[in-house]
Assembly symmetry: C2
Homo-oligomer: 234 residues x 2
DNA sequence: CTATGATTCAAACGAACGTATGAAATAGGA
DNA sequence: TCCTATTTCATACGTTCGTTTGAATCATAG
């Protein structure tokens, strides 16, 4: 039958591509690298996926479809348990970013490697990749935005959107940067931290994100149409 | 004399390369694009800079030398004014990130475009660029790390380093992502924000960063060697 | 076994890449 | 003016890129 395919080859290509795209970027990774390290023929990528662009789209789809469904599932579950009452910001942040970080602990779902690839791609300038991700998962962002609006009714929506954006940045950067982190520190303290870094990344990140999300609102010099008092949040 | 060079050509190449590297990334921008859009001969880059790698290094050096000297100057000035007393975290954060954002308002220093390029490069997987930046500006990071250590003596150094890292991420992302921001919002509210975005980005970012930096410390499940109470900070 | 469709393979395609070359053009001091 | 060093130019080099092709191999249903 036509729908039966050699799963081994497909999966081996996807795994290798995921690893190499993380290490050298999309443009910096050649088809010959991918197929050679995956021990498949050069033409295999075009046969199974059609093109290099379609390949990286499948690399993302394979992981992100599950992740975003899981995010929505967790959020739905929380909202049902709350019975109409707005959620706490910490719950929403955990449903979105906690689910992401916890995915990295599951090696079957790509592990830390895919997480880093995702983090890097969000700031990478390959237009079609970002366009693809944007179109495909806007509805997830919208659901979480709405949840945050309800959770923080006293905070202007524009501020919430900005802070969501800041949180995305801090998280992408945190997971993308093993090497970048070395730019900041030589890890004189706590050198053994490499071992259990994932264990501690989540609580560390959550503290930071919630601190930022619930910070006092900024005061602008230029007049604004609306302004509301600082929130104390949950 | 040998040191007299055609400044017009050099500068035009640097300006064009800066813009194109931002738009399409390092690997995604070709020498032919650069030289053609800069209206110079194809061989001009290799003549003036030696190679494509040396070109992007010069693109960064041209802006970052000034930025990091300015950062250190502002920090020195603050510390001198404080007369030995530790600085407030908000001062240090402003000296580092405020100086960066304010640079974007100066079109002569690269403006928003270079800021975005910088933000993207920090998570880009081109090894040699990150290595170049890491080696060249470690001393600046070290100075600011030390200032934060003194400013927050009750917070474990490892936590400060992590939060510095988170702050870098939020900032890089914020400045890199015009397009990425659209992934988060359709800007139903405050559509006219595109105009004065830089005006308001700094206070918004500063609030978020300080909120994250001064957040209560995370609690780990696994036992740790040291643990100190949450800081309230300045 | 044979036939058929799915998959793999070696080989090649044209295009685009970064770089190198040597001649032509330009500028400034003697 | 001529001379010399700097800069620009058209052109080409060798490599590598993503993709395509058609034959060989494999798996499986009849």
């Amino acid at each position: 039958m036509a729908e039966i395919r050699n799963i081994d080859t497909r999966e081996r290509i996807l795994d290798t591509a995921e690893r190499l795209f993380m290490a050298h970027g999309y443009e910096g990774t050649s088809m010959r690298q991918i197929t050679s390290e995956a021990s498949v023929n050069l033409a295999a990528v075009n046969y199974h996926f059609g093109s290099k662009e379609a390949l990286i789209e499948e690399v993302f789809r394979r992981r992100l479809d599950w992740l975003n469904e899981e995010r929505l599932r967790v959020l739905d579950e929380m909202e049902e348990a709350a019975g109409g009452k707005p959620l706490k910001p910490s719950q929403i942040v955990d449903a979105f970013f906690g689910t992401l970080i916890r995915m990295a602990e599951d090696e079957n779902r790509g592990g830390l490697n895919f997480l880093r690839l995702l983090g890097r791609t969000m700031t990478e300038p390959s237009e079609f990749i970002r366009a693809f991700l944007a179109h495909k998962y806007v509805h997830v962002m919208d659901r979480f935005k709405e949840a945050l609006f309800k959770s923080l009714p006293d905070v202007p929506k524009a501020e919430i959107v900005w802070r969501f954006h800041f949180m995305l940045g801090a998280t992408s950067y945190a997971i993308a940067g093993t090497d970048t982190l070395r730019l900041v520190t030589d890890w004189g303290v706590e050198a053994a931290d490499t071992e259990d870094r994932l264990d501690r990344l989540l609580p560390r990140l959550m503290s930071f994100l919630l601190g930022g999300l619930r910070a006092p609102l900024p005061q602008f010099n230029t007049p604004v149409t609306e302004q509301e008092p600082a929130t104390k949040a949950a």
